[in-house]
């Protein structure tokens, strides 16, 4: 295979046109979202973009380079706190300074892009109208500090591999979070209390977040397609072979960590802005778990897949709250029965598809039967009196996502997209067997040969 499938001679033009059309369509969709008047819808879209940045950047390490990294929440924490602190408005700073709940040092309270701009004599960048410029500065600085930490975390990757490395990245991520609440760093993070009042206009704006996502996807897609990406994928496939081919494996691994950490830091900054508060419980390992689910569902190594997975995770997180409300126990029993029944049926289908004998294993039949019975009885109201107590389903969303992750790992480890990326040809290419550019060229060559009388038998060319 040479290059990506194309539309033929005018393919580049067509692809550019389609890309432009898609961009316009996205802008229209975002505009509709914004003008729909639903605050929640806008926030969900913004959260999708923010987590999308984090997932796509984690995908660079986990998917493209094949290093399982579990410390992404640590990078995000650094970017988030830096952005939050640099963007804290003057009023919030003064409130904090004279508050008893403040452990920020005066030096930390003086860290403000606004003050820097004034100090540099760039007063026009310290006005309320140019808040956006300052936010970009803060975001980039947060990303850079996260990238510096990515350098630190990347170094163990030179000595360790596989699950040991995964555990070390996890440990780094947790150490960042634990250290942030200790006196050592509390003068910058305000300990467990954190600080509120971070301007939330950016993290909740679809334009800012999707702009950042577009830049991230553009940069990382180019990176993946280009020579660096090929090297990183080579490291994933076979590190020793890559080294033997003259690749500087150490440099590229650390580079992957640094780039990924930069974008994670940017995502962290937007995430803090989305919430409006810099708090430690925003950066639990749960965050990395969500991204891991997104990558695994979408397809490890595929940017398109990472975005599909993010959409799923964000949808479950933002619209799954009916799962966690209080219902009578009989309702829960009915739901559990339905789940058990569906699981039984799926198990039967799976066993039949894999030609396992017997397809109707007693366990499968039993699950379906018990589930159906429980669901029917509960639905008929048999248990309404006995199980009237209401019960709240704490943690149901995370349970659903973890079950999904286990199922993906067992039944479809490549995820939805595998390692492929989205191509327009999927949608528009003629489904009949149309010869590729290469084949056309070959045919032309053969025909030329035929005319000249050199090619005895034009093989495989049947018009």
């Amino acid at each position: 295979m040479v290059g990506a499938p194309s539309f033929g001679p005018r393919g580049v033009m067509l692809r550019r046109l389609l890309n432009a059309a898609a961009a316009v369509a996205l802008v229209v969709v975002l505009f509709l979202v914004q003008s729909s008047g639903s605050v929640k819808l806008g926030q969900v879209f913004a959260l999708f973009a923010i987590w999308g940045i984090a997932t796509v950047s984690l995908n660079l390490i986990n998917g493209v380079t094949g290093i399982l990294s579990l410390g992404h929440h640590g990078f995000m924490l650094i970017g988030g706190y830096v952005t939050g602190l640099l963007m804290l408005p003057e009023a919030a700073r003064q409130n904090l300074q004279f508050s008893a709940r403040n452990s920020l040092s005066d030096f930390a309270l003086g860290l403000s892009v606004e003050r820097w701009m004034e100090g540099l004599g760039l007063d026009f960048l310290a006005t309320p109208e140019t808040l956006g410029v300052r936010f970009v500065v803060a975001l980039v600085l947060g990303g850079l500090l996260a990238a510096a930490f990515g350098l630190v975390v990347g170094f163990p990757s030179l000595r360790l591999r596989g699950d040991y490395l995964a555990v070390v990245t996890f440990a780094f991520g947790e150490v960042i979070r634990l250290l942030a609440s200790t006196p050592l760093l509390a003068s910058y993070t305000n300990g467990a209390l954190g600080f509120a009042g971070v301007p939330s206009g950016f993290g909740k704006s679809v334009w800012w977040t999707f702009g950042a996502l577009a830049i991230t996807v553009f940069v990382l897609a180019r990176l993946k397609k280009g020579s660096y990406g090929r090297v990183l994928q080579g490291i994933r496939e076979d590190e020793v072979a890559a080294e033997a081919m003259g690749v500087n494996v150490a440099y590229h691994k650390v580079l992957a960590f640094v780039i990924s950490a930069f974008f994670a830091g940017v995502a962290g900054g937007l995430w803090v802005s989305w919430v409006g508060t810099a708090r430690l419980d925003l950066f639990l390992f749960t965050l990395t778990f969500y991204f891991l689910v997104a990558i695994s569902v979408g397809g490890t190594g595929s940017i398109t897949g990472a975005l599909i997975g993010t959409a799923l995770v964000v949808w479950v997180r933002q619209y799954g709250d009916p799962l966690e409300q209080a219902y009578p126990l009989s309702t829960w029993l009915a739901a559990a029965g339905v789940v058990l029944f569906v699981a039984g049926v799926l198990g039967w289908l799976y066993r039949r598809g894999r030609r396992m004998r017997p397809a109707a294993h007693p366990l499968v039949i039993g699950a379906a039967a018990v589930g159906a019975l429980a669901a029917l009885l509960a639905w008929a109201g048999v248990f309404d009196a006995a199980l009237a107590a209401r019960w709240q389903g704490f943690g149901m969303r995370a349970i659903a996502l973890s079950v999904l992750l286990v199922a993906i790992m067992i039944f479809k480890p490549a995820g939805i997209m595998g390692r492929r990326e989205f191509e327009w040809t999927w949608l528009l290419r003629d489904k009949r067997d149309v010869p590729s550019d290469e084949e056309r060229a070959q045919d032309a060559w053969l025909r030329v040969g035929e005319r000249a009388g050199t090619a005895a038998e034009p093989r495989g060319v049947e018009e």
Partner: protein
């Protein structure tokens, strides 16, 4: 050919001797530093006396023993299938909550008792299956008796701490086997990253399941027991206050470790485990039922985790809410296993006790003095930092064999 080229390890023996002695010299130097530090602190403040440090030491042994018990589960599973069982901390959490419900609840409602008894009977059958007697009528009869007895006991008897601990060990052991069967067994031979991600998913599942089913807040854990009563003893004329748990925990840990060691070294199952750990494929060819060996590894590890969990609750008087209770003990115990040398049973025990000292005794060596605020707040990071350092400098751990990945 050089005349002076003496073969390695020649009779002069000087470099070899020095190299052999180096760890012991280092240990002696470390002990010297510790003693000097204690002496210095005593000079600064009278309160830092022998009793203060003795109390810290016994608490270190207590905490370290608990870490050791959990670490054994990590190290056994890693030794056999090279999987970092992220869910082990959550198995530990379930062990604590199972015991909590057993001793704190008034006798169970019948439906709950029957369900739990069914789980126990199933586990009983599986366990007997390891000894190749499954299918005999007497075994089925025993399982039936077990089922009825457990159901009756749960529905009518109130458990003490020991009964709750034993029952919880059994239930949690069955849980460990179930996790292996449902989540890990379909992934045998899959890339190790997939297995690790699955383990993380199982861990999240159990955290949130605990939140759903057990509790969503910190739970008091005070079974009526002699051992939670106060124990005082004299060191250097000063009194050390503690509970009898400082005796119970190391003793139970030692007993369990002895049982486990003899199981691994002397029984047929243990031999199969060691064979599987060396080379699963060859072991399978030699007639070892590898899946059963792996299941039994999860069973044993989870049993130890449940024992640790019950003693953890009794030691500290409360257990945290399920979503976070298992994480820190679990990951610290994993760090202990790495420090000791993952895959090695003595390594896990040594690493656990070492980590206990690192957390408790080191904190006692650097207390709040004058303007220095002490290092208590940093306690939780020690395990992580020690693990990172060990992995970078000596991945095989203190006693472990060489595990560096060759291609």
């Amino acid at each position: 050919m050089s005349v002076h080229a003496a073969p390695r390890g020649s009779s002069t023996g000087r470099p070899g001797a020095l190299r052999r002695a180096a760890p012991w010299l280092g240990l002696a130097a470390l002990l010297g530093l510790v003693v000097w530090r204690m002496y210095y602190l005593h000079g600064v403040n009278e309160n830092f006396n022998a009793a203060f440090f003795a109390g810290a030491a016994v608490r270190s042994v207590q905490l370290g023993s608990l870490y050791a018990l959990i670490a054994l589960g990590y190290t056994m599973v890693y030794g056999i299938i090279r999987l970092i069982n992220f869910a082990h901390g959550e198995v530990f959490m379930v062990g604590a909550f199972a015991a909590y419900f057993l001793f704190s609840a008034t006798p169970f409602a019948w439906p709950v008792a029957v369900v739990v008894a069914a789980v126990v009977a199933y586990g009983f059958l599986r366990f007997l299956g390891f000894f190749r007697v499954l299918g005999r009528p007497v075994v089925l009869g025993a399982a039936a008796v077990c089922f009825v007895a457990v159901a009756v006991a749960l529905a009518s008897v109130r458990f003490g701490w020991l009964g709750a601990m034993v029952a919880s060990m059994f239930l949690t052991g069955v849980l460990g086997m179930a996790i292996d069967r449902v989540a890990y067994k379909p992934l045998r031979g899959a890339p190790r990253n997939s297995m690790l991600i699955t383990a993380i998913a199982v861990s999240f599942f159990l955290q949130n399941f605990g939140l759903l089913a057990f509790s969503n807040r910190q739970t008091p854990f005070r079974p009526p027991s002699f051992f939670t009563g106060q124990l005082t003893f004299q060191v250097g004329g000063e009194t050390v206050f503690a509970t009898w748990m400082i005796v119970l925990v190391p003793v139970v840990t030692l007993a369990l470790v002895v049982v486990l060691t003899s199981l691994v070294t002397r029984t047929r199952l243990g031999r199969a485990m060691r064979a599987t750990s060396q080379d699963a494929e060859t072991a399978r060819m030699m007639g070892v039922d590898v899946d059963r060996v792996i299941a039994s590894t999860f069973l044993l590890g989870s049993i130890l985790a449940a024992a640790a969990a019950v003693m953890w609750g009794m030691s500290f008087g409360s257990i945290n809410q399920p979503a976070i209770f298992g994480i820190l003990p679990g990951i610290k115990a994993f760090a202990a296993a790495v420090i000791g040398g993952i895959g090695s049973l003595p390594g896990a025990v040594i690493g656990g006790v070492l980590l206990g000292f690192l957390e408790n005794f080191l904190t006692a060596l650097f207390p709040r003095v004058g303007s220095f605020t002490g290092i208590t707040e940093y306690k939780d990071t020690f395990a992580f930092l020690a693990m990172i350092l060990i992995l970078l400098l000596r991945p095989s751990g203190i006693v472990g064999e060489d595990l560096s990945e060759k291609v």
